[in-house]
Amino acid sequence: MTNYELVSGLETHIELATKTKIFCSCSTEFGGEPNTHCCPVCIGLPGTLPKLNRRVVEYAILAGLATNCEISPVSKMDRKNYVYPDLPKAYQISQYDMPLCKNGWIELSNGRKIRITRIHIEEDAGKLVHQRGNTFVDYNRGGVPLIEIVSEPDIRSIDEAREYLEKLQTIMRFIGISDCRMQEGSMRCDVNISVRPAGSEALGTRTEIKNMNSFAHMTKAMDYELNRQIDLLESGEKIVQETRRYNEETECTEGMRGKEDANDYRYFREPDLVTIRVSAEEVAALKAELPELPGARMKRYTGELGLPEADAQQLARSRRIAEFFEAAADGVKNPKAAANCIIGQMFSRLSTEAEKEAFDVAITPEQLRELVMLLDAGKIRMNLVKSTLEKMLDTGKSAKEFISESDMAGLDEDALKAACEQAIAANPNAAADYLGGKEKALKAILGGVMKATRGRADAVKAEQLLIQLIKK
């Protein structure tokens, strides 16, 4: 049997987190009673004029800059004509041949770059509820700003598709232009798929799976479609270029009849909106606003801070976590301890992925930093860090509220020596036994040291010190 290779590209729609819609001042807030976030502009009444939201252009440029795109100095809006109840005007205002951003890329962990063809701005459609053969239309979502990010067919595996989409999600959240929640529809994608014999350069006939609304559905749909196409080729049949939908119940993709002829959108320039011109100065100003991106942070965490790759990935997964970590690790000797506190104890208190990314915790990064500094200075041991952090997270109070001066005093070099000397003095027989060759006798003395310091002595250091003192 021939070995086949997947060739795939993604078209990703992301709702922008602006306060108002793209062409009118209605709220973009999710939910609400049907048709309550609407006005004559966004329900397309005759005689109304759209006016472009400046922030939509700025957010789209930020998205472009964060994905290595060129920003077009001149772009315009176009009408995409199609008749369906989710579009009150019978056209969607989008961008056709002059998108705001083009020629970008995203790098995957395997070093491959997935090229981004373009990013354009457009309006979202309304929401349709189909019931008893009738269609109920809610235009609250109609006119909410979207960016569509179109990739080249550079994706070669389902894992790569997943990683590409996760990276887009992380980046867009990082720069704060969208919450990218697939289950709420603020991020969704269409997947183009074809297969070809491995090593071949030619592209096979492709199909497009519409409207994937979760990572799980996307990977399942791609897996099904990949195998369906291979089976067709193996049995000598032809793949039909068509639009398909993923059926969540059967876990199969199925052809959407009637869509093939409708691909003629008769695009033309939107006459109600003027040209968009973006100066180099405006691009530079937006670039300056851009936070350090997750990829760059990860490199810094593994390089400068010497953290393992897996830790770096966890810390760079949201801007909130990354900034918390960086403030907590600022100037500490042991950034890994700060990372461990966050990834271990602090994450375990946050149950969902969304909660982890929002990272709403009871303490400030400065409070965590103070705790790590105590560890750095050798004033407390790791087990005390853990129990103290628990108390801090319960109460929001600082480490020093839970660690007494004597707890800390018990652990500097002099205090440790004193505790060791006392433990030897308290157990002269064990010391003699140890000198006589009974190595196990040392454990009894060490037990005394740990008891006197309430478990906060460094057992390894204490053991070395005891041997020195006994042998003296």
């Binding site: 306060k19 001042s25 048709n35 109840p85 009738n134 269609t135 109920f136 003629d264």
Partner: protein, 92 residues
């Protein structure tokens, strides 16, 4: 140039039937119309202010919420409605 196949496809999308004679004439007419549009397209918008007579660009609004309309008002002209939704009835 416009081909017969393109005319037939457009006719199908517009749900029109076209006779053999009409096809020849329509193809000729459509080619001339497209040819005229090419004259306009030859002007690149990148290096001209041809795009609107007032030479306007960058007309924006600020991202500030204003009250929306009452849903009763929004639905006033709807041929059919139910529970605050526009209703599109199943076509027979």
């Amino acid at each position: 140039m416009v081909t017969h196949e393109e005319i037939l496809k457009i006719a199908k999308l517009a749900k029109l039937s076209v006779s053999a004679d009409e096809l020849v004439q329509l193809t000729k007419d459509m080619s001339e119309i497209i040819g005229f549009a090419d004259t306009i397209n030859a002007v690149s918008p990148e290096n001209s202010d041809f795009d609107n007579i007032n030479h306007l660009s960058n007309v924006f609004r600020d991202d500030v919420v204003a009250p929306s309309f009452d849903s009763g008002e929004i639905l006033k002209n709807a041929p059919e409605q139910e529970d605050g939704y526009f209703l599109v009835k199943k076509r027979a």
